[in-house]
Symmetry: C2
């Protein structure tokens, strides 16, 4: 390509390295950033540096935070006897949006996946077991309903059950607003199996 401006190409490559961003989108984003006033580009650049510098894992639940404890663990009104185990910080954001769960979380930062060479030791399972002193009454396994999510939930529940702590799993069923006709067989079967008295 005859038109090759080094710093623009470098910025395009950086955007392209992000997940789900292709060549054309990267170009569009890079040109947008450049077309803005310089101060805006500086703010963006600062936000990245600042986040990369200040964000670390919460000492208790391993969620991302910029202080010693994450806002959930630092909140004295949260019920510390129920731990909701999730794969990813995004899952915590989804649960917090509900405003319904008042327990605390534990972020695994991944799922067991032999295909991707991710074993139990690559997750924060050790840190979860350390939290299970006498005060914890229930652990909710809230990993995704995928093969890896199921395997991880099963693996962890086998470690926790012998300690006499209740282990539960999110309910399977038809999504609210969903259409029976379009539900897949496994989901429909699970919904039938898990039916509740009205």
């Amino acid at each position: 390509m005859a038109y090759n401006v080094a710093s623009l190409t470098r910025l395009c490559e950086q955007f392209e390295s992000l997940p789900g961003i292709g060549k054309k989108t990267a170009q569009r984003l890079a040109l947008y950033v450049i077309s803005q006033p310089k101060q805006k580009a500086k703010d963006f650049s600062d936000a990245i540096l600042n986040a990369a510098d200040s964000i670390k894992r919460c000492a208790v639940c391993q969620n991302l935070t910029d202080s010693e404890l994450c806002p959930v663990c630092a909140n004295p009104t949260r019920n510390k006897s129920i731990i909701c185990v999730v794969c990813d910080p995004r899952d915590v954001i989804a649960f917090e949006r509900l405003n319904e769960f008042d327990g605390v979380y534990h972020v695994l930062h991944g799922l067991i996946s032999p295909m991707d060479r991710v074993g139990p030791d690559d997750l924060t399972i050790k840190e979860l077991l350390k939290r299970l002193d006498g005060s914890v009454k229930e652990v909710i396994m809230a990993t995704n309903p995928t093969v890896e999510g199921e395997a991880t939930a099963m693996y962890i529940s086998k470690l926790i059950k012998p300690l006499g702590i209740k282990v539960s799993r999110l309910a399977y069923g038809i999504p609210v607003g969903g259409n029976l006709e379009y539900a897949d067989d496994v989901t429909l079967f699970r919904a039938l199996e898990g039916r509740n008295e009205m």
Copy 2:
């Protein structure tokens, strides 16, 4: 939301301000950037600052560049007597990908659009007219085939034609690999009107 980490929220907002990036995608990108090694985040941040600092408009064609002249205008083998007028730097990239056009470009940085309060003076039309000394033989209007693109092409051609310079427009027709059945009426009409002898 109980889970609110200031520097993460700030980074999410920055990503969300980009065109075509919604709340969820912004979250995904921000968490990805943080999950990478710190050096990668620093590289990204540097690339933005560097591009914003070094990239300016080419003194001749107004395309984006990091030196006085853009690579096309600085290339002595390009045919300076044909100018291809485009709306956006991305259009230059599209033409350069062809490896077929050996003329030079002029980037308008927008299209005339009274709805968005963009008038002829907001574009680089003055700079285009300054380039039209005796050496320029043809100006190709390569703006998009939209209402704004057509209006802009019409406006500029009316300014240039009196100077005795040939003004041409990209051909309209069915896209290669397209399907006649799905072509819209206007495109099909233009394809029929512009038919060539085989």
